[in-house]
């Protein structure tokens, strides 16, 4: 059985982790965590790490022992410099808490690139984990912000992602809030849906990696996929209807509607892994093999895993990319936001200086 560690950093990471824990409790309702055990598809250990205690308190389905508060008042206020310092000061606490969970075959770090705690902890944590757990690939699930969230968040996202890639984790899987906003009208239900979707896809992947499969793909294949291209990728998903063929289900998982990050897989894909689950009657292996051979011509190496499970076929695609034009756009917006923020700061400072200059050679008269 695979030993997997899932770390949720910062508010966003905590909430996706909470959604994973909720899924693992099944349909037991709000009190399930008090009387049932989590049913993860593998040996999964989870820890929610945050500097803001209120965010940790807000988690519903994460057990108290799986919440780690890194003491620093009430969060780092989206300031990555403070976040990095706080991580340095509390590194031992964090690493010893992880160490208590044993050894791991695979580590997921879920974080927002835009916030304070998560975005500053993630790159440093990758460095520490790589030193301690040398054989476990580390995959970062990184959530990009809404573009209108403000210049600080955009700036954080730009620098966090760069720091993260510099640390060379096994791979970075992107989730784009801006792209997924289409899911729901209001912001709260959009967040809830994004968190649940991301959590379900991760659990789908974990279950497949830990199962005996009809057509086998494993952790080694996942590493190879994540090594492809520039090490950045995303996930797609498709659930087939009753009458659709397995081919349309496979191709459906590459469609923009199922992706977590906007990209053209056929143009930009480097390597891919497809995991297909469904009833045996839907699994035409010849058609699956043929479809994947066709895809390999366009996308590059495609690994396949087939799992016999009740229900209609569901396909998870996970791929790395050769280029990420959407990320270039994000960096252009972030750079513009940083420049205009600096101009505003300079202007305000010169205004304040000129206001103070009125009393420069004066003394108080009483």
């Amino acid at each position: 059985m695979l030993n997997i560690l899932v770390l949720g950093l910062g508010q966003c990471g905590n909430r996706i982790l909470d959604a994973m824990n909720r899924e693992a409790f099944g349909r037991g309702g709000a009190f399930a965590k008090y009387y049932t055990r989590q049913k993860f598809p593998a040996s999964v250990k989870t820890i929610a790490i945050n500097t803001a205690i209120n965010d940790l308190k807000g988690l519903v389905d994460t057990r108290a022992k799986d919440r780690l508060h890194v003491p620093h008042l009430h969060g780092v206020g989206a300031n990555r410099s403070i976040g990095k310092r706080v991580f340095g000061e509390n590194k031992e606490i964090i690493m010893s808490e992880i160490d208590k969970r044993g050894t791991f075959d695979l580590i997921f770090i879920i974080t927002s690139a835009a916030g304070g705690s998560g975005s500053s902890f993630a790159p440093l944590l990758v460095r520490e984990l790589k030193e301690t757990y040398t054989n476990a690939p580390i995959i970062c699930i990184t959530v990009l912000p809404f573009r209108e969230e403000g210049s600080i968040f955009l700036q954080n996202a730009a620098f966090c992602l760069k720091d993260l890639i510099d640390e060379k984790p096994a791979g970075v899987l992107l989730v784009d809030n801006q792209y997924l906003k289409k899911y729901a009208g209001d912001i709260k239900s959009a967040y809830d849906k994004i968190n649940t979707t991301t959590a379900r896809r991760l659990l789908f992947l974990i279950e497949a990696l830990n199962s005996e499969m009809l057509m086998v793909t494993d952790l080694g294949d996942l590493k190879t996929v994540m090594n492809g291209g520039i090490g950045i990728g995303t996930m797609g998903f498709y659930e087939a209807s009753k009458d659709s063929t397995i081919k349309s289900a496979i191709l459906g998982s590459f469609k923009p509607s199922g992706l977590l990050f906007p990209t053209n897989v056929y143009k930009e894909g480097a390597r891919a892994m497809l995991i297909i689950k469904g009833d045996k009657k839907y699994l035409d292996l010849d058609l699956i093999t043929k479809t994947i051979e066709e895809l390999s011509n366009e996308v590059g190496q495609v690994f396949k895993g087939v799992l016999v499970q009740r229900g209609k076929p569901r396909v998870l695609s996970l791929f790395t990319l050769n280029s990420v034009p959407e990320l270039e756009k994000l960096y252009a917006i972030a750079a513009e936001a940083i420049r205009s923020e600096r101009e505003r700061q300079d202007k305000s400072k010169s205004q304040l200086d000129s206001a103070f200059s009125h009393i420069e050679d004066l003394e108080p008269i009483y």
Binding site: E212, M213, L214, M215, V216, D218, K280, L285, T289
Partner: protein, 91 residues
């Protein structure tokens, strides 16, 4: 049953490993004694190795290797037999 011809002879270990990855447990390995009639050679040849495996009570698979003709015989559910050959090719 599915019959395929192979280039490189699969080892018993790789057959066992592939079966275990698919959730099958090997419970008997024996020297083969099934005869296979070859149209090319116009003769019967004896299969060399026979591997018996099962997953659930009724879910069984038997793999036979015929080294002389470079053939692999997979007895069992057709979907699983195809999947086995695909998985074996990757090991």
């Amino acid at each position: 049953m599915i019959i395929r011809q192979y280039e490189d002879r699969p080892s018993t270990e790789s057959v066992t490993y592939t079966l275990s990855k698919m959730g099958f447990k090997v419970f008997r390995i024996e020297d083969g004694h099934d005869l296979y009639y070859s149209n090319d050679a116009r003769m019967y040849t004896e299969n060399d190795i026979r591997v018996h495996a099962k997953k659930k009570f009724f879910d069984k698979m038997v793999i036979e290797l015929n080294n002389e003709m470079r053939l692999i015989f997979v007895h069992g559910d057709e979907t699983e037999a195809k999947a086995f050959l695909d998985n074996l090719a990757r090991t």
